[in-house]
Amino acid sequence: MPIVQLRNIRKVYDTKVAVDDLSFTIEPGTMFGLLGPNGSGKTSSIRMMIGITVPDSGSVSLFDQPFTRSALPRVGYLPEERGLYKKMNVLDQLVFLGQLHGLSASVASRRASLWCERLDIVEAIPKKTEDLSKGMQQKIQFIAALLHDPDLILMDEPFSGLDPVNSFLLMSTLVDLCSIGKAVLFSTHRMDQVEKFCNNIALIHRGRLVLSGSMREIKSIYPRNRVLIHFEGDDSFLNHPSIEHVKRYNGTVEIKLRPSATLAEDAQSLLAQAIAHARVSRFEVMEPTLEEIFIEKVQETSPVRNGHDNGHDLSMAQLDQPSKGGLDA
């Protein structure tokens, strides 16, 4: 039984197509990554899943039923823009939000304390929200989304602005929830997080689905044509004929090999040439990263890049490098 099923949903705002013909399914016990650069329609899609906005066309099903508001108490939502009542005491706030999701005051209060213990913010309970650090507020918001034990957890950019320790804490909490059968969807533009944790992904770009499926399937489609080399000394081995293009950093190069039937042999010959000229401390042959897959897909769908997908987003900015900077071999 799919928890979420989107069929050809489309949403147009006054001047902009936010989501166009998007379909995907989330099964129970899946960690689902919704990926895309800023402004690609992630938040719009999530909002349509919970009826904050209604798709112009297409259909949304939750828990195998066409969408109705009665399904909402089974959904936990962490919006991209965090929002809490600043002047309100943390416990009151959690109880209030719990009650809105149909919990009784006493159950909400008991669960709130348990969750605060689990996320290591017991000391925040009696405080006013505005007195907390941003990271703590985010944890409170995280708890608010989970308090009513939802079967579907939707998290819009859950880790933005969190330090690595806390990101990891929240991530492993989500993994735990997933392992007991909850469906978790989180959106992000950080591809590295997704590669580690997600079973399934959907890549969207300008509101359109670019790529979707299980992580393993997706990776297996792509040949192992990426080579990472850490080295010191002469870089003349970069003239090797099997190299299609090189990105060069400080003491490191990322190489994409020319498509060929003999990729493994090409890599070996490249390694031999590198050793002959320089001192190599690391040599790794990989499949393309999700980031690279994404950029390839985006370029396929819209060959003319107009730099529209802004530069706030660090990992997306890197994606632009092959065409703008870098060193083309």
């Binding site: 919006p79 823009e81 929002g83 009542y85």
Partner: protein, 431 residues
């Protein structure tokens, strides 16, 4: 419904707990009281009176006029409209007329004098004994400001009496007889005993009117402000994931409104207690006591609630359309303008609660709560008018809530620029 109740309760509890609530609850009556007692005190103690000078070459006439003016105020009960007179009678030589006038003008400028009356003797004793009228001196009154029309008519009346008395004396009538003849006539009004009550009721009703005006404006703005606050803190997105925008708006209006009612309730209770005890009487002299009937209080709450519902749902829409207090200020006009219109007409409706203007205005929904309240309390509107006013206002509240909740629904999710009118209309369509 449960959600509306939860939101209203949160809004109420969080607001009542704040220091701001405590401060306004205590401070506003204090300020109003201070203003009231202050103005009563000022008008009773230090009433500046009117200081005029009478310049005349005929000292007798000047003195008579002086005593007439001063005596008049002693015999009549003092009221605000009759200032006390201080009259300087001046006797001048015709030669120094210009110098005297210069001095008087100067005093006028400096504010020492409110006006002076220049009595020039009749041209010359008439060569032929013509009519007595030609003997009359000319009177020229120079007031400090043109507003002193009452002063002018008072002077004219006093002069008339003095001259009349002079004439009568001239014709051999004894002074005491003359006084009797000139005794002013008092007309007793039929409702004379009610008058005091009516006056103090007017004071109380005006106070309640101002209170209603303030609380509606204040709490209407509070609704708008708290919606903007939720927009900026983005909390509503969490809320909208479980509840409908309509529920959110209703809860907010109810919650904030209950705070207003609580506050007004506290004030009214305190006022009634205070007026029941003797403190008020001792403090304010005769001027202030609350004379309200139960019906007037009930109507107050009825119209207060109608007015609040009307204006706060407009405010909710304004709040949903804007992104910051600054933007809200610009749209504020829609909220405040009708209230101000009510305020401007207050005085005339207070005096003539059953005039045509009052009747018409009080049936127009934005004005109904405040103006119909005045009419119900002080005038004699028919039952159907009262009923119609409530029905009309309720119907328009329903319409406004309908529109507002649609604007709200779309508006809370819009950030960035303020919507234009066509955009707003589109919002109404697609939600």
């Amino acid at each position: 419904m449960h959600n509306v109740w939860l939101i209203a309760r949160r809004e109420y509890v969080e607001r009542v707990r704040t220091r701001g609530f405590l401060i306004t609850t205590v401070m506003i009556p204090l300020i109003m009281g201070a203003l009231l007692f202050g103005s009563a005190f000022v008008s009773s103690k230090s009433e500046p009176g009117t200081h005029i000078a009478i310049v005349s070459s005929d000292p007798q006439l000047a003195l008579d006029l002086q005593s007439e003016l001063q005596q008049e105020q002693e015999t009549r009960p003092r009221s605000a409209k009759q200032p006390q007179f201080t009259v300087d009678a001046m006797d001048i030589e015709p030669q120094s007329a210009q110098a005297t006038q210069a001095i008087l003008d100067q005093e006028l400028d400096s504010g020492d004098l409110d006006g002076y009356l220049w009595i020039a003797p009749a041209p010359t004793p008439a060569p032929t004994p013509a009519k007595a009228q030609s003997d009359r001196p000319t009177f020229a009154f120079t007031p400090r400001s043109s507003e002193q029309n009452t002063l002018r008519s008072q002077l004219a009346a006093a002069l008339g009496t003095v001259l009349m008395r002079e004439q009568l004396a001239h014709r051999g009538i004894v002074a005491s007889d003359a006084d009797t003849m000139l005794q002013p006539v008092d007309i007793l009004t039929a409702h004379a005993p009610d008058r005091d009550d009516r006056e103090s009721a007017e004071v109380s009703i005006t106070l309640l009117f101002v209170l209603m005006y303030m609380v509606i404006a204040l709490y209407g703005m509070n609704v708008a402000r708290s919606i903007i606050e939720e927009k900026t803190s983005r909390i509503f997105e969490v809320m909208l994931a479980t509840i409908r925008p309509e529920e959110m708006m209703a809860g907010k209006i109810l919650g904030v409104g209950s705070v207003g009612i609580t506050q007004v309730g506290i004030w009214l209770t305190a006022a009634l207690l205070l007026s029941a005890s003797s403190i008020a009487a001792n403090l304010g002299g005769q001027g202030i006591h609350v004379a309200l009937t139960a019906a007037q209080i009930v109507y107050f709450f009825v119209y207060f609630i109608l007015g609040y519902a009307f204006y706060s749902s407009i405010a909710a829409a304004l709040g949903a359309m804007t992104n910051s207090e600054h933007e809200l200020q610009q749209l504020n006009l829609f909220l405040v303008l009708p209230l101000v219109v009510c305020f401007v007409t207050l005085k005339s409706i207070l005096t003539y609660p059953d005039s045509t203007m009052a009747r018409v205005l009080a049936l127009i929904p934005p004005f109904t709560p405040l103006l119909m309240y005045l009419r119900v309390s002080l005038g004699h509107p028919s039952h159907w008018t009262v009923f119609a006013s409530i029905a009309l206002t309720s119907a328009s509240i329903y319409a406004i809530v309908w529109v507002s909740s649609r604007i709200y629904r779309v508006g809370v999710l819009m950030y960035g620029k303020r919507p234009s009118l066509p955009e707003l209309l589109r919002w109404l369509k697609y939600s």
